[in-house]
């Protein structure tokens, strides 16, 4: 075990160890990050949602985008699997369909980075139970 000999050692160590608790810290305040939910029901997984999720986690980290990637159940758009929902801080969530690795890359580069919309958006045409009052 390397000893910590200076404050700089400690700071360097903290940087390296940050990843250990990153997931938990972001999870505690997801609203300040880009939140991506990947539909991971049987139909999603069969169409490659798992690869898309792995790609998203890796790509976002490499490109220094602070994001929380979680999985969720079936979003109901089985015709358009894999589907992902992207919510940027302070904005309405947008659902994208037919997301493969290439599409995911495009979503990161265009929508998340620049705010440009890309093909494949599924219009939100449902109400959630909280809104029905």
């Amino acid at each position: 075990m390397t000893k910590i000999k200076t404050l700089a050692d400690l700071k360097k160590m903290k940087e390296e160890l940050q990843a250990k608790v990153d997931l938990r810290e972001k999870g505690d305040s997801p609203e300040s990050y880009v939140q991506i939910k990947v539909g991971m029901a049987t139909s999603g997984i069969a169409s490659g949602a798992k690869e898309v999720m792995d790609f998203l986690i890796e790509a976002l980290e490499k490109r220094n985008i602070e994001a929380v990637v979680t999985q969720t159940g079936d979003m109901g758009y089985c015709f358009a699997e894999p589907t992902i929902e992207v919510k940027k801080p302070g904005e309405e969530p947008i659902v994208f369909g037919y997301v493969d690795v290439k599409k995911a890359d495009e979503i990161i580069e265009k929508y998340i980075k620049l705010g440009e919309l890309v093909d494949g958006i599924i219009p939100v045409n449902y109400q959630i139970i909280d809104e029905k009052k």
Binding site: T6, L17, E61, V68
Partner: protein, 597 residues
Amino acid sequence: MTKYKMHLLVCGGTGCRASASDSIVENLKKELENKGLQDEVQVIMTGCFGFCEKGPIVKVSPDNTFYVQVKPEDTAEIIEEHIIKGRQVGRLLYKDPEKKETVADSKHMEFYKKQIRIALRNCGFIDPENLDEYIARDGYAALGKCLTEMKPQDVIKEIIDSGLRGRGGGGFPTGLKWDIASKNHADQKYVVCNADEGDPGAFMDRSILEGDPHAVLEAMAICGYSIGATKGLIYIRAEYPLAIKRLKIAIDQAREYGLLGKNIFGTDFEFDVELRYGAGAFVCGEETSLIHSMEGLRGEPTIKPPFPAEKGYLGKPTNVNNVETYANIPVIINKGANWFNKIGTEKSKGTKVFALAGKINNVGLIEVPMGTTLREVIFEIGGGIKDGKKFKAVQTGGPSGGCLTEKHLDTPIDFDNLIAAGSMMGSGGMIVMDEDDCMVSVAKFYLDFTVEESCGKCSPCRIGNRRLYELLEQITKGKATMEDLSRLRNMCNVIKDTSLCGLGQTSPNPILSTMDNFWDEYVAHVIDHKCPAGQCKDLMKYEIIPENCVGCTACARVCPVGAITGEKKQTHYIDPSICIKCGACIERCKFDAIIVK
């Protein structure tokens, strides 16, 4: 390093471990391996989440799902449904008892909404047995900052400016205590952590030590640097085996990393920490008794002055602080006194950890800013009184404190307000009582505790508390007179004035405060020989309602002492002089014909 996609945080506090959270961790790991997910999902055993009422708790990060009352056999479903298919396991989510809604995410639970976690910042968040996780959360950065960028006097000034006051109960300004110890010169000084938590129903210090042991070690080293001490001692009761185990691991890890020992952060400063075990005597929470116990002597107090800051452990200047006080220190150094002193009230800064217990829905550990009202704590965070009963009182400060009633509900909680209301902060135990609790019995319960715990050195405490207890017993038996009540009050005041240490000086408080707030109840016991709450067995009377009794003889047959007589199909009668009030007849009667008066 493997990149985990998900973390499963399982509570490893004493409470949740008692409900098999060990096996939950084991099962989760096994299931993950079966599915080949061990490199994608990490299982971490953390310290206490605080929501003990609904333990064991499993939290999924980053989606923040909060599962409650998880059993070892539920783990397969969590992995299968949540981890693999991304569907929350609905039946394990928390249901708000008031709104009847399911809340998946701890942030939206009433229990967590009003809390600010400073001392508990890492409890339920990191693995307490892993120093790396503590470092990732800015651990030891405060110590590094003090040693390399601040002079000892600057550190003390920062603590004074923060307004931090001792969390063990006394509320003495921490910075001032350090300042006094730093000014007493000696070849050796000591930093002591008081982890002898003894109030009935209090478990905040234990939870901090179990959930974030490094925070205390780091703060003790900071204190050592500022007062000029190289040795730290933690006085902990042997009844806290898990806290002891985690402290030992933490001390070993800190030594390995060079964060305890010689030349810390490349400076001349050296500091090391050792553990000292107590046998769980309440009086050893008092600092002079604690020091004597550490020296291998009997745990008995001595008169102050001299204060430990002058002559403490082995006659050397010693600074004694409580666990929670220390847990605040690294945050104050990292974020600055001006950040800390904006939280809380004018004279009580920061937050306070409370252990909620008794007749409250959400039993557990909470941390709220000073100035939060009792109403917020009991009814919002605590979820109100169990079974929809009526709130009667809350005891704060344990056996040294007093009870607060309905009229105090909107008082902002801080050191001075609680004293003004006739109670005290104490270490932060809060025992909530409902309409079924007899306040004389409550006072008797605390006196029973102090009689047991009195060290016997001074006569007011040794003999006086025993006499108080006997008088209370007479009252609960209906054998006391009104003169006894005034004798009781008089004796309380004498014991307070003449006892040697804090134990005796405060032990009559539960009697005085219940007499002040519930005088009618005392009178009812004495004059009417009745216990309004129906708790005092000796004052209860079992009677048969003639209209309901069909004369089935069931009660007479079940009575163990033959107190019930009556012919078949005739109304029965209970002889009060024979009846032992065991309640067997009530359980047997199918016609609701027996009542307790």
